[in-house]
């Protein structure tokens, strides 16, 4: 395949960045003879049934990259509602919500988010989707089993011997750094408001704030700016950081947004937030946020929404317990 010099240049830049400042829990493997033969390795996030596993994600760039997304698939077997039998990944970032500013790092962070917040509403593996909706415990058990069989090496991949950017850098001005090390997990009640999106580094996704009503703070936005993923673009048209964050959230409907949670105690909201596609006006994630601009922001809307819809709660309890035991 002939790839234009501009594209190669871009890939080079990105590989360099990923090598020097990899996002937490994400590494890439490259092959000298073919820069485009990229394999991402995602460390199964703690607190999920994928913990302990290392999942390989293969990339294939077409000549239309970056105008069109690369093809991406799991080369490691995984039990996940949004991953098909052939490793295919169903996430809007790789399809209709693709933007040419996205890159390898962004995709891997997005996929890592998907491991934390599966989206049963757009299931590729409908059995996994069904389990996740109906019987969270079984879903976890099954996913854990598959992880242990197929994704857990005896020793962790050498790529992970190198610290990620967050570990290596001086403390970031936000809470996100805490989360990189399990030992230093913040107390369960730490009220760290983090507006979440797949744009955030995976590290901050693991920081699960408890405050339901805290506004999206500037500090969380600041943590975004310290991101090491170079291709992250933000709609910076609006002056206020909060606004710009919202703009980026609304622009990207991945079903991956999440609500406030405690460290290692995922609340039910992740699943509840996945229905941006089916909500009524005012209920949908995007609309909800737009209507609460400058107020509660994302987290507030979620809270209201969850309170308003009780049916998820029982399942949520189960999930919560299940995850505790993991």
């Amino acid at each position: 395949m002939s790839v234009s010099p501009a594209v190669l240049r871009r890939v080079m830049r990105e590989l360099n960045e990923l090598e020097n400042n990899p996002p937490e829990g994400i590494r890439v493997q490259t092959v000298d003879e073919d820069m485009l033969d990229v394999t991402g390795i995602i460390e199964g996030p703690e607190g999920t049934p994928y913990a302990g596993g290392y999942f390989r994600v293969k990339f294939k760039f077409t000549e239309e990259f970056p105008a069109a997304p690369p093809k991406c698939w799991f080369a490691t077997k995984i039990f996940h509602p949004n991953v098909g039998g052939n490793g295919e990944i169903c996430v809007n970032t790789l399809k209709k919500d693709w933007k040419s500013t996205y890159g390898i790092g962004h995709i891997l962070v997005t996929v890592k988010c998907l491991l934390i917040y599966p989206n049963p509403e757009s299931a590729l593996d409908e059995e996994a989707g069904k389990l996740l909706l109906e019987d969270y415990q079984s879903y976890c058990d099954r996913a854990k089993l598959i992880t242990s069989v197929h994704a857990t090496p005896r020793t962790k991949p050498v790529e992970f011997n190198k610290p990620s950017s967050v570990d290596a850098e001086s403390p970031a001005p936000s809470s996100s750094k805490d989360t990189s090390s399990k030992a230093a997990s913040p107390s369960a009640d730490t009220a760290t408001p983090v507006a979440s999106t797949s744009r955030l580094p995976a590290t901050s996704l693991a920081t699960l704030p408890t405050s339901l009503s805290a506004p999206t703070s500037i500090s969380s936005t600041a943590s975004m700016t310290s991101l090491s993923v170079p291709t992250i673009s933000r709609k910076s048209a609006s002056p206020a950081p909060q606004m710009s964050l919202k703009a980026s959230l609304t622009s990207e409907k991945e079903g991956l947004t999440m609500g406030p949670q405690k460290e290692r105690h995922p609340s039910p909201s992740p699943l509840g937030t996945a229905d941006a596609n089916v909500g009524k006006p005012g209920m949908g994630v995007g609309l909800g946020m737009a209507s609460t601009a400058g107020m509660g922001g994302v987290t507030g809307t979620k809270a209201v929404k969850r309170a308003a819809t009780g049916s998820g709660a029982t399942n949520a309890e189960k999930r919560k317990k299940a995850l505790k035991r993991l």
Partner: protein, 1013 residues
């Protein structure tokens, strides 16, 4: 009345039958309805010089009931400047009669007649009776008025057109009440909705923040609305746009309350146009603006063309080329009509009045031919009413003097009149590389041939195309005839245009090698050194990007163009001046998420995409895998191991080679019947088992709502044509895989299919694996290897089947007998029925599944003309951005837009400014160390990464030993070392990309590097 004898037998063809094989690509532009109307229209075209023949060609290709031409005047050598259906031996014969046989060859479905007449006879009202559309080319205004007065009263559609050098004009009068049924040609907009407000405003909100794309004044209707059911199938309601996701449909207060769901669909409303006759329109003209940078020009040209006509009737000749006296007379005549008219433009118009340029005729001819089709079919919005176009910028920077432009009795006199003899020589000695000889390529070669490009002692045209000629090409690739089917396009086209202009004999070098990395030994440095520029006539982005890259590297001007239905664009890329093609790319169409395709389709294109994949999964991949297993010694070990689906693949090979191998065609029918059950019943039931219709999401919303449509399993019924179509196509394709003879007797299929015993299906519920934390975790293995090994035991050894191979299907959309599109249509429609989606016919399915790009000769003709107008500038080596124009057209609206090319983006390193056209050069195969040292010493830049092609040669995190080893290598050695491939012998240089940082450790962008080896 003479007519082409070979066509008499074809004249009684059933008007309703459209040859879809021939018209395939055009049908996707115009549709069946419009083409049926065209098939009842008789078209008369008067004036058979360059413009007339261009219109006649395009209309004949498009397919109307008949084309009649009129031009009894005698052929002169000057006609050959732009009349591609006349030859030197025709000089002295009546024009229409001389060209008739060549025009008649174009389309056997379109009879072509010549109205005859004697030299000097003008067209009369008597002669135009019986035609639906009359086109007058180059006819004086006095005559136009006479004819138009009659056509306006008698319901005949009237078009007049003429070109004068770099100027063109056309006028439409389609009568006082012309109804245009589809003013835009765009697909009606449609989308899902989530609410309808009750009230005076009646605001409708779209689902999921999907832009509705509607505009004020559009009309919509609804389906599947729950609650406000009165809106389902309602009379079109007028839209007022409230926002990107909301629109109002007026008063809804009397309607029922909205509950859920619903789809809006735009309704195209006919538009009625009130055309003025020419006599009124000359006084109060309405102009189509073709270039907003020339806003005042239509008014000037409006009187300018009238003045030229008046000049002609006074002196019985055109103004002499660049003659001041004649020009002054024309200016004076024009000023009588409009004192404000631009004198400079009028003078230039008069100077060029005897000019006759193939590119201008191509632009106007493409445009006017589409207007003819609009008049016949009422499809698209016709021009209202005057259109003037010019490309004055194409004149050379050094204007020719009067003497230079006088006719010399040459076939190029029409061009010499505008550009002069010196420039004609430059054109003749120009050296171009035409990449592609399809639709744009044929038109380009025609224009170049008429212009004399490459005809001089130093001139040359290289043309390459890897394709051979197919039937669907004949509808617009007008250099090809039915007898040429299967031959190489480039060769046939080269011969055809050399026949058009014998000066080009031996001057066109046709090749079959496609451009690409594999042919850089053919299109090498000496090849590029030897040409002046490249013209792309390609149909895919990949090849365009590749040629762009090559042109940047070799610093050659590139003329780029493309069409999509009635839309077209042109782009000029000039070294050191403009950005390149790759600098700005259209975003490709967004793909549909895979879960939508797999489980939640909500539109017919989702089911078509699914069935296209299903075609591969059933009829291509298994046979390929089985063959690979039989022919590649280590297939199982090597290929399969890394697929992640080893077990599934081995299963499949076993099934195809052993357990389910059919021996008779009946077994193929059984296989098809069972496949039906699996795909349209069992899988759907399994999905509904996992996600029941009453399932709710974690927020309590119904799972199956909004874009998720709950499916319904199908029960096979051999009397349902769609069911049976599926069985027929699937069984035949399965039989093809095994080399079994197929059948299409539906009774047989019905009989066999009905006798199949279909196993009972129970949805699987086995995913609830109960394990607790105390259960021992299975040992980590590479996963399922044992299983796979067990399975391989069931495989026959390749040696036991020596020589046996399956026949994988090779998807071919244009062969109507191969069952490919039949299968995809049936499979897609069955799935559509599963999900209550409206099925699509074969024609629509074929376009989507085959990714067919709609195409019509009119657009191609116009776009190619625009490219050639830019070629004049390239030949003149113009070097200012404002000298060039990128063009955007849409013949449906109609719309013209032009913009200055975008300047190459400037970047800097240190104090050096650079663009994509700059590079560093290193000679004599230096070591990497030499290069690193150069940047450090000369530019104070530190290299952090080096790559060549896709090989990463060196980076800052490479281990120390490796790093030192590589730094010391000669560059060519380094490349071979890392890429593990030898450098091809023809390669004289390597293109290298580097990343560098400056002394503050900041990344700096620098140009690429050329390393000579």
């Amino acid at each position: 009345m003479a007519e082409s004898s070979s066509l008499v037998s074809k004249m009684d063809i059933d008007e309703a039958a459209i040859d879809e094989g021939l018209y395939s690509r055009q049908l996707y532009v115009l549709g069946h309805e419009a083409m049926k109307k065209m098939a009842t229209s008789n078209v008369l075209i008067v004036g058979m010089k360059g413009l007339g023949v261009e219109i006649a060609k395009n209309v004949a290709l498009a397919g109307v009931k008949s084309v009649t031409i009129y031009d009894p005047d005698l052929v002169t050598i000057q006609d050959l400047s732009s009349q591609f259906f006349l030859r030197a031996e025709d000089i002295g014969k009546p024009r229409a009669a001389a060209m008739l046989p060549r025009l008649a060859e174009l389309n056997t479905y379109v009879p072509v007649h010549d109205l005859g007449g004697r030299q000097g006879d003008e067209i009369t009202i008597d002669l135009i009776r019986g035609f639906h559309v009359v086109v007058l080319c180059g006819v004086p205004y006095k005559k136009q008025l006479e004819i138009n007065n009659w056509t306006h009263e008698n319901g005949v559609h009237f078009i007049s057109a003429e070109t004068r050098g770099l100027f063109g004009a056309t006028f439409n009068d389609f009568g006082p009440k012309f109804t245009c049924v589809d003013p835009t040609g765009e697909q009606p907009l449609t989308g899902m909705i989530v609410s309808i407000e009750k009230g005076k405003e009646g605001v409708v909100t779209c689902l999921d923040e999907t832009r509705h794309g509607l505009e004020d004044g559009d009309f919509v209707t609804f389906t599947e609305v729950q609650g406000t059911t009165e809106l389902n199938g309602c009379e079109p309601r007028k839209v007022t746009v409230k926002g990107p996701y909301t629109f109002s449909i007026g008063d809804t207060s009397g309607l029922s309350d909205y509950k859920a769901g619903g789809i809006f669909t735009q309704v195209k409303m006919p538009k009625i146009l009130d055309y003025k006759p020419l006599r009124d329109s000359l006084q109060g003209p309405e102009f189509l603006i073709t270039d907003f940078a020339k806003f005042d020009r239509p008014a000037t040209l409006h009187v300018g063309f009238q003045a030229l006509s008046e000049f002609h009737s006074r002196y019985n000749r055109s103004p002499r080329p660049r003659n001041g006296e004649d020009a002054a007379a024309v200016v004076a005549l024009a000023k009588e009509l409009d004192a404000d008219a631009d004198e400079k433009v009028l003078t230039e118009l008069a100077y060029q009045a005897s000019g006759d340029l193939a590119p201008m005729n191509a632009v106007l001819g493409g445009f006017v031919a589409q207007e003819v089709l609009k008049a016949c079919s009422a499809k698209f919005h016709p021009n209202f009413q005057h259109m003037y176009f010019d490309s004055l910028e194409s004149l050379p920077n050094t204007l020719p003097i009067e003497e230079e432009c006088q006719p010399i009795g040459s076939r190029y006199d029409g061009q010499i009149a505008v550009f002069g003899r010196t420039f004609q020589e430059k054109i003749a000695n120009h050296r171009q590389f035409l990449v592609g000889s399809g639709a744009i390529g044929c038109e380009m070669l025609k224009n170049w041939s008429l212009m004399g490009v490459g005809s001089g002692p130093n001139g040359i045209i290289h043309v390459t195309d890897l394709d051979t000629i197919e039937k669907s090409n004949l509808n617009r690739q007008f250099l090809f005839r039915a007898k040429d089917l299967g031959k190489f396009k480039a060769e046939v086209a080269a011969v055809a245009v050399a026949e058009m202009n014998p000066d080009l004999s031996g001057k066109i070098l046709a090749k079959q090698e496609p451009v690409g990395p594999a042919t850089e030994n053919v299109y090498d440095e000496s090849f590029f050194d030897d040409i002046d520029g490249v013209t792309n006539a390609l149909d895919n982005v990949k090849a365009r990007l590749y040629m762009d890259q090559r042109c940047v590297f070799y610093r050659k001007p590139l003329l780029e163009s493309g069409t999509l239905g009635t839309k077209g664009n042109t782009q000029v890329v000039i070294p050191d001046l403009t950005e390149s093609y790759a600098s700005s790319q259209d975003p490709p169409e967004k793909e549909t998420p895979s879960c939508t395709i797999k489980n939640f389709p909500n539109a017919i294109n989702h089911t078509i995409e699914w069935s296209r994949t299903q075609f591969d999964n059933l009829f291509v991949k298994p046979a390929q895998a089985a063959n690979a297993y039989l022919s590649e010694p280590n297939y199982l070990e090597s290929t399969l191991k890394y697929s992640g689906q080893q077990k599934e693949q081995i299963d499949q090979i076993v099934s195809f080679l052993v357990t389910n191998k059919p021996l008779t065609f009946e077994e193929c029918i059984v296989w098809a019947r069972l496949q039906f059950e699996r795909d349209y019943n069992n899988d759907i039931r399994q999905l509904l088992f996992s996600l029941p219709k009453d399932a709710v999401t974690s927020t309590g919303q119904p799972f199956w709502s909004g874009p998720k449509r709950a499916p319904e399993p199908l029960v096979f019924n051999s009397n349902d044509p769609t069911h049976l179509d599926y069985i027929i196509a699937a069984a035949n394709l399965h039989a093809f895989n095994y080399g079994l003879r197929g059948d299409t007797n539906s009774a047989l299929f019905r009989k066999v299919a009905d006798s199949v015993i279909v196993p009972e299906f129970t949805p699987k519920s086995g995913v609830k694996v109960q394990i607790s934390d105390n259960d021992p975790v299975p040992q980590n293995t590479s996963g399922g290897d044992e299983d796979a090994e067990d399975l391989t035991k069931n495989l026959p050894s390749p040696s036991s089947l020596a020589g046996y191979r399956l026949n994988p299907c090779d998807f071919e959309k244009d062969d109507d007998a191969n069952h490919h599109i039949d299968f995809i249509t049936a499979a897609s429609n069955l799935r559509a029925i599963n999900y209550s989606i409206n099925p699509a016919d074969r024609h629509t399915t074929k376009q989507i599944a085959g990714k067919i790009i709609p195409a019509i000769a009119t657009t191609t003709s116009l776009v190619t003309g625009l490219v050639c107008l830019e070629l004049y500038k390239v030949i003149d080596k113009k070097n200012k951005l404002e000298d060039y124009k990128n063009g955007f057209v849409n013949l449906a609206l109609p719309f013209f837009g032009f913009s200055e090319p975008i300047a190459a983006k400037k970047a800097t390193y240190g104090s050096v400014e650079w663009t994509l056209w700059d590079r560093f050069e290193f000679k004599n195969d230096p070591t990497l160390e030499d290069i690193v040292g150069y940047f450090r010493k000369e530019h104070n830049l530190t290299i952090t990464m080096v790559s060549q092609g896709v090989s990463m040669l060196w980076n800052s995190w490479l281990g120390k030993k490796k790093s030192q080893e590589r730094l010391a290598m000669k560059f060519s050695h380094l490349v071979e070392h890392v890429s593990k491939k030898p450098i091809p012998p023809h390669a004289k240089h390597l293109i290298v990309e580097i990343m560098v940082t400056d002394d503050t450790d900041e990344d700096v962008e620098v140009p690429f590097i050329v390393v000579r080896i």
